[in-house]
Every structure is written in C-alpha cells, then in structure tokens.
Subunit: 349 residues, 2 copies
Amino acid sequence: MRHLSDYMPFILKKENIARIEGDEVLIGNRSLYPFEKSFFRCRETEDVAWAIEKMVTQGGGPVRAAMQAMLLLAKRMDEGRLPRDPARFAQAKERLEKTRPTNTTMARVLELMVSAIQESLGKGACCGERAGAFIATYESRYEERAFAMADIGSSLIDDGDGVLTMCFAETSFILTIALAMEQGKRIKVYTPETRPYLQGARLTAPCLEEIGADVTLITDNMPAYLMSQGKIQKYMTAVDIAVSDGWVANKIGTYQNAISAAFHGIPYFPFSGDPDMRKVGRDSIIIERRDPEEVKHLRGLATTTDTMKAYYPAFDIVPPHLIAGIITPKGLISPYLLKRVYGEGESAL
Amino acid sequence: MRHLSDYMPFILKKENIARIEGDEVLIGNRSLYPFEKSFFRCRETEDVAWAIEKMVTQGGGPVRAAMQAMLLLAKRMDEGRLPRDPARFAQAKERLEKTRPTNTTMARVLELMVSAIQESLGKGACCGERAGAFIATYESRYEERAFAMADIGSSLIDDGDGVLTMCFAETSFILTIALAMEQGKRIKVYTPETRPYLQGARLTAPCLEEIGADVTLITDNMPAYLMSQGKIQKYMTAVDIAVSDGWVANKIGTYQNAISAAFHGIPYFPFSGDPDMRKVGRDSIIIERRDPEEVKHLRGLATTTDTMKAYYPAFDIVPPHLIAGIITPKGLISPYLLKRVYGEGESAL
C-alpha cells in the first residue's frame, strides 16, 4: 500500500496545506515559502477568503483551506457558539468561491459539502462530524486520483527525458516525478520561475529539490530555447480547469509553452483530476485578472516606475490541438474525447 | 533636419550612454535605472570591461563605452602619460571584446578604430584627435541608420496597432514608436519585463513612458495570451547579431515570442543596423552563458533556495522562417536575401 504522504515534500503534506488548530484555520503560507515555513492563522471565513485572494495559498490549496473553513463553522455550531443556521454555510460558500473565478474545483466541492452539512443540520445531527467525514472522503479520493494520474504520468516519461513544467503542478506532478525516479529513470526537470508570484522558483523547484529530483530553475523566457537545444522531451502542467470542448486553463505562460512544444514536436500532457464538464466550452472559462501592481513588483521590490501601466491576466487557455492527451484519474484522454469519457454536464468530482 | 537627440529619452541620449569627463569614462548606469539616474565612473579599460560584464550598460551601450575607453587611452598617450605603444590598443580591444561574445558589433567597430588610431600613432600624429573623429563619424552614421530603420519601422505600424517588443530595442525601436506617434498613429506597446535583468521593465517601458507612448508592462509569460486576444499586430525587437544565413540572435525570450507570433499570424520584424556577414551561419553565433545565480535573484533579492541549480543562456536564436523581414538601414530585407544585399564576408558597419 502506497501512502501519498511518504512521497510529498513539506508544503504538500495535507496537514501543511490547511488544518484546524484550536479555534483557527491554519493555512500553509506559500507566499513566504521557501524563505519561511509558516502558517497563516484565520479566525473567520473572511480571513480564509482574504488569504486566498492574497495568494497565501494557491493552486489546489484554496479548496482545502475552504473546506477547513466550513469545518470550523460546523464545529462552532455544534459547540453552540454559532446559531444553527444553514444560510451561514451558503454565505461562506459564496464568499469563498469568489476568490478564484478561473478554477471551479472549490465551488463544486463546496456545493457538495454545503449540501451534506445542511442535510445533517436539518436532521439535528452533529454537523462537524459530517463536515469532517466529507473532508476525509475527499482526501482519500484525492489520494487515489493522484496515484492514478501519477502512474500514467510516470509511464509517459522515458529514461533520460528532460521534463518542462510551469507554475506549481502540485501533487500529481511531484508524485509523477517521484514515481519515475522510483522506476529508476534518470530525468531532468526544468522549472520556469513563473512571474509574478514565482510559484516555479519558490514552490515547484524547492519541492523537487526536497524529494531529490534533478531540477533546474530557468526564467519564463527560456523554455523554447531549451526545446531547440534538445533539452526537453515532455511538457507537463496542472490545469486550473479543463472544460467540455477540451480546452484547458492554467497559469499564464502555459499556453505559450504549449505552442513552443508543438513547434518542436514535444508532447504536452496536462493533469486534470476533475474536469468541469458543466462548463460547455472555452468561452465559459473566466480568466482572473489580478492587480497590475503585482506585475510591477517582485517580493515587494519595484521592477519599474511607480506610474507604469501594467496588465495581469493570471491564467491563459490552451486549445485541444496543442494537447497530446489529458492525464486524468480515468486514464490518458484525448481532449476531444473528454466530454464523452466524463459526460457533458457532469462535475467529475 | 531631424535630430536624434530631440527624440531620445534620457538614457539613450549619447552623452548619457557613455562619455569622457576629466580623466574618466562615465557610463550611464542602466543597471540602476529607472530607480537612479547615475553614472558609473571608470579610470581604466579594465573598469569599463568590468562594467560591461556586470551589465552596467548593455545592448548598444558596450560599443559606445568601449570607444570612449579607447579615446581615453589615446588622450593619455597624447598627454605623454602613457607610452605611445600601439599594442596597448590591441590589448584593450582584446579585453573589451571578450565581454560580449554574442554581439559582435563592438569587436568589429574596435577593429576599425584600433587600425585608425594605430595608423595615426605610426605617423606620430595626435591619436586622441583621430579617436575622437572616429567616434564622431560612428555617431553620425549611427544617427543616419537609426532614422533609416525607424522610417521603415514606423511605416510598418498601422493606426490602432498593438506592438510587442522584447528586452530593450533601444534607439531604432524607440525612434520607430516616436515617428509612428508623430505620424498620428494611435498605438499600444506591450513590453515583457525581460527577466532576469528586467531590461523591459526598467529600460524599455520607462523610455516609452518618457516619450509619451501608451506602454503596458507585462511579464515574460504573457505574450502569446495577448496575441490570442488580438492585442498584438506587430512584433519588433533589436538583434544582437544577424548572420549570413538570416538567423538572428537576441535576448533570451525573443525566440519563443517569434514562435507564438508565427502561430497567431503576426509578423516579426527585427532591427539590425549592422548584420555580420563575416559570420557564415547560425552555428557561428556564440550564445553567452551567464552566472546562474542571476536567475535566482531579482535586484539582489532571492527568488528560490540558495542551493538551487539554475541555467542562464542570455540569448536565443531565431530562424529565418519566423522572420517577416529584417529592418536594416538598406531597407526591409528578407532574411534569405541578407547575404546578397550585404555581401557574404562583409562586416556591414
């Protein structure tokens, strides 16, 4: 029996993503990592929402933090410290899901979680227990899906490969690399730094370094040059969302790397644990636009004049013809078959 | 009569690129711009070489700084403060040209300048005067070529265009934008920040802001997304070198933007004031590899762990089939015609 936690670096261990301690939600502070290993403490749902908006956690972190926020509310109700009002969960859900317009996983998970909690609330049952059980089931399915995807991912990597990634592809990708290494494959991973938040430099590269992988940090303007030198054989990223027509959205930069990969004959394999088949096409993807000030700074240091205009679309969208196959828990799927395999209108959670 | 200085922002005015003051060469310190407008003071040729290596100046700056270093040597000889030894110039040339292996302009200019100075030295003439005249001629030809290229560049820009650039395309590009604006064209310029040195954020964007252009700063991972949104109609950069088979080398990232431009049907027009036809093909281009530590920092601030491995190729190479035409002082030239127009084996200075 394989255990996810045996493979995961510090920030991807589930207790370090988000957990409850005392009467607070603690969120692993990815915005300070690897310079500090610290936790952001939240007393209220609003604190959790604020932390997500401020990028204290990102990628797959927000859904985990949001579930803990729901659990905290449920526990407080059980302890009689909050009125047993089902609307509180709906309000919390509404506030939390607004923090991430592009990635719909949190909204979909919270919808199921709130229904479950409200049901137990209606029966007068202990809703903290229900919330806890929901999280446990989610974690266990998440672990199963991660191994299913990483088994495929690692089988796609050949001995001697150079693998390019982008942003922080988290569990599925880190596990893919860990399994490929376990299989005795000698691989090199190239990680673009991923401006402006440096998820590649601060999260992906240190996580890979922690598990002993051969990782090299590059800047976001280098991937195509490395491809032209024959250093890259596979391109793999997470996605924030995969929709029914096979388009995927991920951190800005994913798209141009996919174009360069296609130009050099390098296959692009995005991971999607939970394609959103309720989104009927690429036009239904909402690209989050963040504060342009963030483009003008790095770790608080200015990169240009105060008066400069800037633009910050946080994600981009890759068309299916640039995708060799989407790595899902159900197998490696052609993006053109996604809606047939997952069923149009399905949430796939 | 148009004068280049009337169009140029602060750091591109010739006296702010490099000049002699007293017994020193002053180099406009681009590494601190726009946060500080300061000059790096050099007493010896070695100081100038060091400053170039440390990116105090870059792009078209090093050749100007190197010519001033030669002038300083010549003046000191005229004043009897240095022996009238022609080998001194050859040694200085050798040291200076090593600072920039990719861009051969400085090496080619210094070859001509050293011959001229040595000739006047052989005749017992005042070699400072000869060096000064050489620089004056260079500046005047540079100005002519800049207007020739910017006249073409601005004619290629249509009213309403979005123009993408990369790194710091200096005089020809800034002048192109200035002339297009003078022609009443409403244009938007998008400037990728250009990690790790941020030439885009620190130099290009502030220069465009200074001349009143509508400029927007983006990160290096955004160009393709902007293209997919229809925001970009033209892609224009400088080149560090154009060689006889029509390949061009420029700051890392230029290549992947060119691939994305081709993918979206957007023409790429690089500027080359002095194609190097003595380089017989792309394999003769030397890509400068810089200290990987630079990739791990931004303005001195760490972006990852101290122990991380990184890679820093400073330039990349674009093939002719991704180039719509090279903007040269002799006109807009197909990269496939470059050697016919310029003559194989010619230095084109």
